[in-house]
């Protein structure tokens, strides 16, 4: 990837929560980068640190108890972590915006959807009420909702339609990056297919880069160019789709694929990963995955694996690959 095309660079980012029970190490030394127009899937299970990563980029880590303890986040070369609150506020919505998981709760129930979109536009662009409303109508049409429905309230929309409104709000100021946190998890499959198609189309049309947070490897296969697998706050495997899906290296990634019931092959039994996600307050020594790993070696219990490039652009954190 050429340097000038880099939109977002995350270097050695760690975010911890300091709670009464101890330090929750939610995100630990993650690196990744995203080029303009590219889509990256961030995959992991509950508690893997996906949402915290997204909040870190948006500058929305609740503080206290959360704090970015190390690392850099560069957006178009500018360090976001050293940006002032005001600068961050100007960035949010205009340069990058977020789509939340639950469309039911991320819309304000007492404002019409048109007002909610126009509000975002007026925050970032000096437009009159009328112009902002006109632009809001255009954006609604773009996500497939007739402009006449602008003056309706969120409860008058179905789940899929609400998620379209949320997408419209995220797109209102044509941001360069969209962070989508499980945007289709709350939706039915047929509606999910509609929303994913819409997101793909819009991305192509507008050239927006996207960080798609999900637990669903299928959704990633459908929408992303590259993928990062997170486990216990670390990126354990990252690369292009071909790298990760066809040449899976990390035992956790292999475990995830083995856990999925397949539509194409009839298997008698699934091959799940033994055990449970570790407690982020009390992560195991060495490789955090070693207690669940089928290929665990003695050294895995004491030494933390480092990021290794196994083939161009395919990174794995596993001692067996070093």
């Amino acid at each position: 990837m050429e340097t000038k095309n880099k939109l977002l660079e995350v270097k050695d980012l760690s975010i911890h929560y300091f709670t009464d029970e101890g330090v929750v190490r939610a995100v630990n030394n993650i690196d990744f980068e995203l080029a303009r127009g590219e889509t990256m899937g961030l995959v992991g299970e509950t508690g893997a640190g996906k949402t915290t990563t997204a909040r870190g980029i948006m500058g929305l880590v609740p503080n206290p108890p959360g704090r970015v303890v190390s690392g850099e986040i560069l957006f178009e070369g500018k360090d976001l972590l050293n940006a002032s609150k005001l600068q961050m506020r100007l960035h949010r919505g205009k340069d990058f915006s977020m789509i939340f998981q639950d469309p039911m709760t991320s819309l304000n129930p007492i404002l019409t959807v048109g007002d909610q979109i126009a509000e975002v536009i007026r925050l970032h662009e000096k437009l009159s009420h009328k112009d902002a409303n006109r632009k809001a109508a255009e954006i609604l049409e773009m996500v497939g909702i007739p402009a006449e429905r602008m003056s309706e309230y969120p409860h008058q929309f179905s789940g899929g339609m609400k998620q379209r409104v949320v997408i419209a709000i995220a797109l209102a100021c044509s941001p360069k990056l969209i962070i989508a946190d499980e945007p289709t998890t709350a939706l039915d499959v047929t509606i999910q297919a509609q929303v994913l198609e819409l997101m793909r189309d819009l991305q192509e049309k507008l050239g927006t880069a996207m960080l798609l947070i999900t637990h669903d490897l299928g959704v990633v296969a459908d929408t992303c160019n590259k993928v990062a697998i997170m486990y216990a706050g670390q990126i354990v495997e990252m690369g292009s789709l071909e790298n990760v899906y066809d040449n899976t290296k990390h035992p956790y990634t292999k475990g995830l694929f083995g856990s999925l019931p397949s539509l194409s092959i009839k298997s008698k039994r699934l091959v799940p990963i033994d055990g449970l996600m570790p407690d982020p307050v009390d992560l195991p020594s060495g490789c955090p995955f070693h207690p669940r790993c089928p290929d665990c070696m003695e050294s895995c219990k004491s030494r933390m694996p480092v990021k290794t490039e196994v083939s161009p652009g395919h990174y794995v954190r596993c001692l067996r690959c070093e």
């Binding site: 789709l241 066809d246 539509l263 009839k266 039994r269 799940p272 449970l276």
Partner: protein, 320 residues
């Protein structure tokens, strides 16, 4: 057939709402053989959960019959014995367990209601056995649900359902709230238990890949109607109903080589309140004609043991 455990005949369940009659389950019939798993697939609001609840009599049927071992159980008042023989595993491992009860208290509840155990020792022994069966370590005996993760909570729910050694278990989306790696553990557990104890399952889910994995036969529901019914393998080999096709093609598969031919449905599920006559899927169907919106399609045997409710099923699939 002598091995039929459950036979559902023209089952209907309507709810009265402020806007009219909600047809949650409308004229559904099927049978489940002993030791088999019937998968019920559909999206939210298709009546699949209601169907499960009517069968085990958590809800009263509006019309139709449910035969259990050939006896009509809808007609007679619910007895403790019926309760014992039919159990349910719930979707949400968070809200289906009482937060104020410890693991052992939760598992003990069915045993106490049915006065199964003679002594405290007997009860403790049974709880230990059940926890062992579902793979819960003994150190969790006094733990509270909120101290456990989703997978372990779902194991508690399963242990509770197993406590009375039922014959038939309705599983209402038992894995949809779980992470994939945990989901696989629970699915394996349920399959092992079935093999060991010859349970009969009715497995309700929205996830086509899960239902394919676990079921022997499948029914696909749309807005309270059964649109397709067949053996699991047959259904995936010859998916005939346009809705089943769309449902199948909408699933994003974790496979980057498979070519995708998406049929993306337009529109959203219409309202099940006082539905007009005609095919309920017509509004979203690419093949819908005039006939579809005025005449309700009957379920017919299109291929051997493969039933579909669609006027144009033969034309769409190039069958005779």
């Amino acid at each position: 057939m002598s091995n039929t455990l459950i036979e559902v005949q023209n089952l209907k369940k309507y709810f009265k709402t402020n806007h009219g009659m909600l047809h949650a389950v409308d004229d559904v019939s099927f049978t489940i053989e002993q030791g088999q798993t019937l998968g019920v697939v559909g999206e939210s609001g298709c009546g699949k959960s209601t169907l499960g609840r009517v069968i085990i009599k958590l809800l009263e049927a509006t019309d139709g019959k449910v035969l259990f071992h050939g006896e009509d159980i809808t007609a007679r008042p619910s007895s403790l014995d019926d309760r014992r023989r039919m159990q349910m595993i719930f979707q949400d491992p968070f809200s289906s367990l009482n937060p104020r009860m410890s693991v052992s208290q939760i598992i003990a509840e069915p045993l106490q209601i049915h006065h199964v155990c003679k002594s405290k020792e007997d009860l403790d022994q049974r709880i230990r056995n059940l926890m062992d069966t579902v793979g819960l370590a003994e150190r969790f005996t006094n733990a509270y649900p909120h101290e456990l993760d989703g997978g372990r909570r779902q194991r508690i729910g399963i242990a509770r359902a197993l406590a009375l050694e039922p014959e038939f278990i309705v599983c209402d989306e038992p894995v949809s709230a779980l992470d994939v790696s945990i989901q696989a553990q629970i699915l394996n557990l349920m399959q092992d238990l079935q093999e060991e104890r010859k349970f009969t399952y009715m497995f309700i889910t929205h996830d086509m890949s899960v239902v394919k994995h676990i079921s022997n036969s499948i029914i696909v529901m749309y807005l309270g109607n059964m649109v397709e019914k067949s053996d699991a393998d047959e259904l995936f080999e010859h998916t005939l109903h346009p809705y089943s096709k769309a449902l199948l093609s909408a699933i994003p598969e974790p496979n980057i080589h498979k070519e995708r031919r998406r049929t993306i449905l337009r529109g959203e599920i219409t309202s099940p309140i006082d539905p007009e006559p005609g095919c309920r899927f017509a509004a979203r169907c690419a093949y819908a004609t005039e006939e579809c919106s005025c005449r309700t399609p009957e379920l017919e045997e299109v291929l051997p043991k493969h039933y579909v409710a669609c006027h144009h099923v033969r034309a769409i699939n190039g069958l005779k």
